[in-house]
């Protein structure tokens, strides 16, 4: 009987402790999510009235009623195209090399430490590097191309690390199975490892791109304009060869910079426009994250 009482006391104490901890954790969760929810709600309430078609098709203007984000969202889109075109092949390629090809020696150790550290470098430093290297050194100017390269550099470590981790997470039996069938290294990577690691790599890419889309500091450093009332040359033309890359060398602005510009104006009407642009940016980021979740979900279902 005594033994039973003692164990019942233990159970009661354990329950009390669990309850206390759960309550505390819940409270903290509420504080964190309420702050975030409040911010988003404020943004949406102030920005929503401005979100009409005109907002997306108008250039910025001195009159808040006529100002829009046409040059900003076009700029953001084009810069992201450059970022993706540079960061994905470079980052995934480097990740594959380091994980599947490179022999472990002091050189790869140094590269590995550096890549991990690069992920922690403040983004403005990348801006300064790009200002010296791309704008002046290489003569790319204050262009979409420069901004794309800069942001690609910024997210490169994220993509490399995600690629390596996705490859490392694959069971060694898969690698052995492929090699035992007579596959060479490239076949093993291309036919078996990359498809299996694909969802993980894609998640890393999208996390990286979501980071790049919201960056402001490095883009200002390389000379994005804050007020721009024209579009870059169209990438598709009516004459042969129907595509051109002149837009790469065009001056530009991006959404976060347009927001920064509007927030720094004295008139409150511009602050509401900034909120509206913020909503657009937020939706773009959330859409990318949703895509990442969907891709992972589908891949997991396929693998059973």
């Amino acid at each position: 009987m005594q033994a039973l009482d003692r164990s019942l006391d233990r159970v009661r104490a354990a329950r009390r402790r669990d309850l206390l901890f759960a309550a505390l954790a819940l409270l903290l969760l509420f504080v964190a999510s309420l702050v975030l929810l409040g911010l988003i709600l404020d943004l949406v309430l102030r920005g929503a009235p401005h979100l009409d078609l005109d907002f997306f098709t108008s250039f910025p203007s001195r009159r808040p009623s006529r100002a829009g984000i046409l040059s900003a969202w076009v700029g953001t889109t084009l810069v992201m195209v450059v970022v993706a075109a540079v960061a994905i092949p470079l980052g995934v390629g480097a990740g594959i090399y380091l994980e599947e090809y490179a022999r472990r020696n002091w050189l790869t150790d140094i590269v590995e430490i550096n890549i991990t550290n690069l992920a922690g470098v403040p983004s403005i430093i990348y801006g300064l590097l790009a200002l010296g290297l791309f704008v002046h050194g290489a003569g790319f100017g204050e262009s979409i191309f420069t901004a794309g390269l800069t942001l690609a550099l910024l997210i490169l470590p994220i993509v490399v690390v995600a690629t390596r981790e996705a490859l490392r997470a694959l069971p060694r039996e898969m690698r052995e199975g492929a090699f035992a069938l007579g596959a060479d290294r490239w076949q093993t990577v291309a036919m078996f490892l990359l498809p299996a690691a694909g969802p993980g790599i894609l998640t890393g890419i999208i996390v990286g791109l979501s980071r790049a889309i919201g960056e402001t500091a490095p883009v200002i450093t390389v000379g994005a304009l804050t007020f721009i009332a024209f579009l870059p040359p169209s990438p598709v033309g009516s004459e042969f060869p129907w595509v051109n890359f002149d837009w790469l060398w065009s001056p530009f602005t991006v959404l976060p910079i347009q927001m920064f510009n509007w927030v720094s104006r004295p008139q409150p009407a511009f602050h509401d426009l900034a909120a509206a642009a913020g909503v657009v940016l937020l939706v773009m980021t959330l859409a990318m994250n949703a895509l990442a979740i969907y891709v992972r979900y589908r891949a997991r279902r396929m693998l059973g």
Partner: protein
């Protein structure tokens, strides 16, 4: 070693211990000659010499950690995937007499001619069809008709065709453990290798699936040279014609299965087979 024993094994009259005793009347597919192997500084195999007879099942038995799997993985140079491993000696692959473990031999050469089935079923995260076709695709086969035919043939060899013929596009992960292992056998058979290595292929399976695979091994013997590592002595006795007993990285005894199990020459083999250690 008597003069009579030497007479039956003229090809292997080296200074190796009495472990090896090739049957002169059965052709040899591979000759292992004084094979040693090191994981880094740790020696895992000591001067192993034995024949692998063509179109026969050779079973490798011995207690855990005796080196039988390590030995098996030398045949397709699996150890090359990890740094710090080192081989010494020779494994001659007949009829050409290629030295499988020579640093001059590209590991792809034995791997293209020797198939392997692993301890744990390891299908690729692809469809049943693509798993079986993988070895052919690696060899550059693109013709759909050729692939279709070989996939069906391999699945029939592996006694899996009737169970999966209606769902070749389903994920290989939808199959049960025993089916997955037979799929891995079909995958290994599809490129029609000369030798099939089986590394404890039934250790993760239930008795019914095990019986399936044992039957299969017995049938495959007519076409392939098979080397099978097993923990299970009954299995070795049931499916093999030759048996090698390993202990602490050494080949203690090699001979015809019947002789090993009824009249072993070494007392250590006797002790292991009767369950006194292991």
């Amino acid at each position: 070693m008597t003069a009579e024993a030497t007479a039956t094994a003229p090809a292997l009259a080296l200074d190796a211990p009495r472990a090896e005793r090739a049957r002169a009347d059965v052709p040899v597919k591979a000759r292992v000659e004084r094979l040693s192997f090191w994981y880094g500084a740790k020696q895992a195999l000591h001067e192993i010499t034995m024949p692998v007879h063509e179109r026969c099942v050779t079973a490798l038995i011995g207690p855990s950690g005796c080196g039988k799997s390590t030995f098996l993985r030398c045949f397709n140079r699996m150890h090359d995937l990890y740094p710090g491993n080192r081989y010494a000696g020779h494994i001659w692959l007949e009829p050409e007499g290629i030295d499988i473990i020579s640093p001059k031999t590209d590991p792809m050469i034995p791997r293209l001619r020797i198939g392997m089935v692993f301890q744990k079923p390891n299908p690729f995260p692809k469809s049943i069809y693509e798993n079986v076709a993988a070895g052919l695709r690696i060899r550059g086969v693109r013709n759909r008709a050729v692939l279709d035919e070989q996939v069906e043939k391999s699945l029939r060899w592996a006694a899996l065709w009737d169970e999966v013929k209606d769902r070749l596009d389903a994920s290989a992960y939808d199959l049960s453990g025993g089916q997955q292992q037979r799929l891995c056998i079909a995958r290994a058979l599809a490129p029609e290798p000369e030798v099939l290595l089986l590394d404890e292929p039934t250790s993760a399976l239930d008795p019914i699936a095990t019986a399936h695979i044992e039957e299969l091994v017995d049938e495959l013997r007519s076409r392939y040279t098979i080397v099978i590592v097993t923990h299970n002595m009954q299995q070795a006795a049931r499916v093999s014609q030759f048996t090698g007993f390993f202990h602490l990285g050494r080949l203690v005894e090699f001979g015809e299965t019947e002789q090993i199990f009824t009249n072993p020459r070494e007392s250590m083999t006797q002790d292991y087979i009767t369950g006194r250690f292991g």
